[in-house]
């Protein structure tokens, strides 16, 4: 256990020191990312105004709050991509990582976790500017802040597990880009990234209850900007823990059979 903690702390420190040096590049990246929620926000604010102030139970201010918190949650959702896995497997980079006495996924989790701490700091001024422009309605309780803080890290772990599983398809076939795009399309609809899940038709909302996607997007955002009771907040976090636990088990199972397939296509 001790060596894992040391490894995580060291990797996170490397990531923080490295990424701070590229803060301008990080900012360009984050600004590019912010256009997406701004588009959704403008469309839905227009609709809310056309309907006399509300659309799907959200006011313009509530939409603003949703999509501003969206930007932080989206940043927390950035993990080692399946395209990275494809490259790692195709080019044989994985061979090197397999030599180390620690599972390669720990390196990904630790490095990106370090980067996240930089991202959260860089995000604060952006959130201030967006709030100044779009005037969100926030009504926040302490319990919501606590659960939100835990839930964004829960979302980070769930998405890491999901995208690693997706990337590991490359062990069996190297034509993966279409599968990845299909996944991202489904995720966009079923996670709350496109619109708050409550605007979706009931059957889509129902479907999303059985899938992990909404726990990476909709739940963390709603934990902060919605009006959930304490019980709803903690049981939501419990669902995240459940998905993390079962995802980890599944990942281990797949990894064992995947690694037998591994032959490093190139390199």
């Amino acid at each position: 256990m001790r060596r894992y903690i040391d490894f995580y702390l060291a990797s996170m420190k490397i990531a923080i020191l490295g990424q701070i040096q590229y803060s301008v590049a990080n900012y360009f990246y984050m600004i590019g990312m912010i256009t997406e929620p701004v588009i959704y926000l403008v469309v839905w604010t227009t609709i809310a105004k056309q309907q006399g102030g509300m659309a799907g139970g959200y006011t313009a201010g509530a939409f603003a709050a949703y999509y501003i918190i969206w930007t932080l949650v989206r940043n927390m959702n950035i993990v080692f991509t399946p395209y990275g896995w494809e490259w790692r497997i195709r080019e044989g980079q994985l061979s090197m990582e397999l030599m180390r006495p620690i599972h390669p996924i720990h390196g990904d989790v630790a490095y990106f976790a370090g980067w996240k701490t930089v991202v959260i700091f860089l995000w604060l001024p952006l959130a201030a500017i967006l709030s100044w422009i779009f005037k969100p309605d926030f009504d926040i309780r302490w319990m919501e802040v606590i659960v939100f803080f835990l839930a964004i890290w829960g979302a980070y772990l769930i998405r890491t597990i999901l995208l690693s599983l997706l990337g590991m398809i490359t062990f069996w076939t190297t034509r993966v880009s279409a599968i990845f795009e299909l996944y991202f399309g489904l995720e966009l609809i079923l996670s709350g990234r496109l619109v708050p899940m409550t605007i979706m038709p009931p059957w889509v909302q129902n479907l999303s209850n059985y899938l992990p996607f909404k726990w990476t997007f909709f739940f963390p955002i709603e934990a902060l900007v919605g009006n959930m009771t304490d019980i709803q907040l903690w049981s939501g976090f419990g669902m995240q823990v459940l998905w993390i636990a079962s995802g980890t088990l599944f990942l281990n199972l797949i990894w064992k059979s995947a690694i037998k397939q591994y032959s490093a296509v190139g390199g």
Partner: protein
């Protein structure tokens, strides 16, 4: 060498190259369908709430989506691959190989790459536009068609100019990949008519990244909203962008020190 002949030669090489990987056609087709499907779901969510969005009906917005898809295909098949190669060449010093060739350097760096299969998006975009047009029960007069084509071509030229200007920055600043990421984010804003955006954003989408001219104006031509004046204005803007980008490219080139081995 005649620039058109040069472009056609590179085009042929690009097609021949991509023809080796025919399965990519189906992969590209699937990806286009995924983006059409998510676009349609977005539209149906919006029109589950309202009947028009800022004065645009559902079929009209479908036409906007088609133009956006079509133009996106043009960007990804011709403009973006060439500009990304240029960025890499500037960083690695391999631009020397292009500069020593006896042709106009700007023409050469703009035609070297061609992603044939990305044109699937152009075709799917045309299909979406046609469906929207049938739904609108519109009659396409010859003048309207010419207006649409002119707007489309001018929009494409403007997008190319902006890409060239952004890429020219790489003569001074090395890390510009993040800027192209920013461009992609802004282009996504063209999915909706620029009229819905707040003033500051609409200005940016008109004059900085001319998504307004590339997507909204052609869509306006299709839906009978385009006036001769705005078409003339687009022509003026196109000329301005062409001159500016040529100027910045030459300035950047004079700053290029080359061969960093």
């Amino acid at each position: 060498m005649n620039p058109i002949k040069l472009a056609l030669t590179y085009l042929r090489i690009g097609v021949l190259n991509e023809m080796q990987y025919r399965i990519n056609f189906f992969i590209q087709l699937l990806q286009s369908f995924i983006s059409v499907a998510t676009g349609l779901i977005g539209l149906s969510l919006v029109f589950g709430q309202v009947n028009t969005l800022a004065g645009w009906s559902r079929s009209e917005l479908l036409a906007v989506m088609g133009v956006h898809l079509l133009m996106g295909g043009v960007i990804r098949s011709i403009i973006q691959p060439n500009m990304e190669r240029l960025m890499d060449d500037v960083r690695n010093g391999t631009l020397d190989f292009a500069l020593t060739k006896p042709a106009d350097a700007q023409t050469l760096v703009s035609v070297r790459e061609f992603r044939f299969w990305q044109l699937v998006d152009v075709i799917v975009g045309m299909v979406v536009i046609s469906i929207a047009f049938v739904q609108l029960k519109g009659t396409l007069g010859i003048l309207q068609l010419l207006g649409f084509l002119a707007a489309l071509i001018m929009g494409g030229v403007m997008l190319y100019c902006v890409w060239l200007m952004v890429t020219s920055i790489s003569f001074w600043v090395i890390r510009v990949h993040e800027i192209s990421n920013l461009f992609e984010g802004l282009y996504a804003a063209g999915r909706w008519p620029v009229g819905i955006y707040p003033d500051w954003l609409r200005t940016g989408l008109t004059f900085l990244v001319p998504v307004a001219f590339a997507v909204t104006v052609p869509a306006e031509a299709l839906t009978n909203r385009l006036s001769g004046t705005s078409l003339l204005f687009a022509l003026g803007m196109t000329l301005l962008f062409v001159i500016l980008s040529r100027g910045l490219w030459r300035l950047g080139l004079s700053n290029y020190s080359g061969a960093s081995s």
